[in-house]
């Protein structure tokens, strides 16, 4: 399989792309079915706003001239997800995101400048509840697609998908993963995000999806809640797919207290003044919550067994590559 997208016509009319997009369609239908049955309301997320999620590693946001105001295309729906809990207790959205990732990520096989997230937020929930939901949602989606003939066409080894357990995924802390990586001779920064090579390494050694929990504070955005018992550690998680496919999902219990959010904004180098509307809402009170975002194209790539995540997009945009 080519490592870069072909022309739009060639890509869209290829039997592989058609099969992948049908699987993606089934993923969305299964996700909506599952979450709706659990009492979630689907909201349509905003595309632009005065501010967006700053928690994307080294990626530039896209500025939009909004009647003379500097607006941003959404890099994630996180701020709006928290705000939306003032309307409904359980919400989800299929959110488009744009992140101008560093060009080096064009060769990771798992970064797109434009992608979608299945974004879920639950009022009053802790990190455990969000993880429970994610580990129940994923098997539901897997079961919904595993018998599709498209997977045969894509030559996906479905034995590994059939081996995905019904919940109770493995859980490992960031600290223990760092220790393991060091023992494998990989120089992982203990204060930071699990790097891309390490993630592939861990994912390749796994036979089932698993969670990495409790990331250090300097690795994530201001909205991931810090543990009261274990300062410097966040109440968050990533869900890692097996077979080398890497991260599918990030989530956390959210910080919702005003003073803590302002302080954490400074710790993440942000200037609180630009978050005016969000901080006004937080100051007046928003519900505590937990939630997660699943990368739709990454999930599709995993389910279809694709070499590259761009194959899971109708109009793929690789970082640094100008394409339709």
């Amino acid at each position: 399989m080519d490592s870069t997208p072909s022309s739009p016509r060639e890509h869209l009319s290829s039997p592989v792309t058609r099969a992948v997009l049908r699987v993606q369609n089934a993923v969305l239908a299964a996700t909506r079915e599952f979450l709706s049955a659990q009492g979630f309301t689907e909201l349509l997320p905003p595309v632009i706003g005065p501010v967006t999620d700053p928690g994307a590693r080294g990626a530039k946001q896209v500025d939009v001239d909004y009647y003379g105001h500097r607006y941003k295309l959404m890099t994630s729906a996180i701020l709006y997800k928290q705000a939306s809990l003032t309307a409904f207790d359980r919400i989800f959205c299929i959110a488009p995101n744009v992140r101008l990732e560093p060009p080096e990520t064009s060769t990771t096989a798992r970064h797109l400048a434009e992608f979608h997230q299945i974004d879920v937020e639950i009022a009053g929930a802790g990190v455990g509840e969000a993880m429970d939901l994610a580990e129940n949602l994923l098997p539901h989606v897997v079961k919904s697609v595993v018998t599709m003939p498209e997977l045969v066409l894509l030559r996906r080894d479905v034995d590994t998908l059939n081996a995905v357990p019904n919940g109770a995924f493995g859980r490992r802390t960031h600290a223990s993963v760092v220790t393991e990586l060091h023992s494998l001779g990989h120089e992982q920064n203990p204060d930071g995000e699990i790097d891309w090579q390490a993630e592939v390494l861990l994912s390749s050694r796994a036979t089932q999806p698993f969670f990495i929990t409790s990331y250090p504070k300097g690795s994530r955005g201001f909205y991931d809640r810090e543990s009261a018992e274990n300062p410097g550690v966040l109440r968050n998680f990533d869900l890692i797919a097996p077979e080398g496919f890497g991260e599918l999902c990030s989530g956390s219990e959210r910080e919702h207290r005003y003073a803590e959010i302002v302080t954490r904004m400074r710790e993440t180098g942000e200037n609180p003044v630009k978050y005016g509307w969000y901080l006004d809402m937080v100051r007046e009170g928003i519900p505590s919550s937990a939630g997660f975002g699943i990368g739709l194209e990454r999930l599709t790539r995993y389910l279809c067994g694709l070499e590259n995540v761009w194959q899971a997009s109708a109009y793929p945009k690789l970082p640094g590559v100008a394409s339709p």
Partner: protein, 407 residues
Amino acid sequence: MTLRAPGFPEQDVRVRATHGPAAIFPELTEYGTTLFGAVAESGDRLDSARLVPPSFMPRRLEKLIELGREPMYDAVDLTTSVGGFQSALPLYVSAFGSTRVASDDLGVAAARQAGRLGIPLVIGENVVPVNGYGRIDGATEKSLLARIRAYGEELGEHSGGVVVQQSTEDADAEVWNLVYSDPATQPLLDTGRLGLELKTGQGAKPGLGGMSVLDSTSAVADRFHVDTVFGTDEVLRCASPGTFTQEILRQQIRLMRNNYPRAKVWVKLPPARDVADAARTAWEAGADAVAVDGAEGGTGWAPTGFLAHVGLPLAECLRRLGESAGDLLVSGRMWEGTRVVKCLALGARAAGLGRAALLAADTDPVHGLENLVRCLELELRLLVSALGKYSAGAVSAEDLWWGDRAN
């Protein structure tokens, strides 16, 4: 009959009584043509210290044995590592700030020469919000990317590096994200020669952020605090120094390492009374370098009171910092070799040229900075060899005499 007050700064009081708050600043007419910074008629404590060579020089004997001849000053090795970069000299060009002085072609001229010299270059505060970003409105030669490109075009294979500052307001413009993700900077990233500097303050105005004077109709006015203190069409634009605690500094550095794993991380500190604590925090969090701007430093517009009375002098910063746990970079009135050698002797890894670099580029945009640095280079060789030592890092506190004032 006019009231008189002999022995009292009568005239200064009258200026304030006449002009109001505008009078706490230097003359507005000097803005854009004058480089500001603390003025010390008689020099500061570093100036009064003397370099004192010994009679007995065991290191010279080592060099003599190595060379098989009496070592001359050309035997001094001045190459060093500066904040994660190889550098031809224990020098770097520090950020010029956003004043009108540095916004002209001088920034690009200085960048080009720094690249040729193979010494690191810091590109400074508010370059993006003031002058726009090169990628979007590609024409502007004043931009950040123009300086990076000019530096990169001249850079040799191994030494040097570009460091891009970001202050609290710059974060709104995502200066680092822009630089890190821009195709133009990839050659620097690929050779490990891009750095990012977290700006927490500056020498000229410890406790304050950058200040500049703008036309009130300027497009950037709405993104900063703006003061109409002058009572004219010109306004004072104030950046915030940002709020820092030990935990905020630690986490910001960790986030920089997390978000920009291929870039070096520098931290700029003001000459604050807890400069040693702040530097230790930065190094422990993984900073590749800590840059300290003595109160004698700075090019920027500042209230005259700050220029003369606020912040620790560089000598005192160095005393408080003591033995460094990482690369310490210092700036403040650097232009000739003795001050640089004194700072190296007190623990600095390299010295930053600010006003001197601007003046040199202003004197001769093509070779001015190179000429100035070549003077420095020869002085450094002469001074270090006079101390019986043969590398920039070998000078130490024993090489200094403070007169009757203990440091």
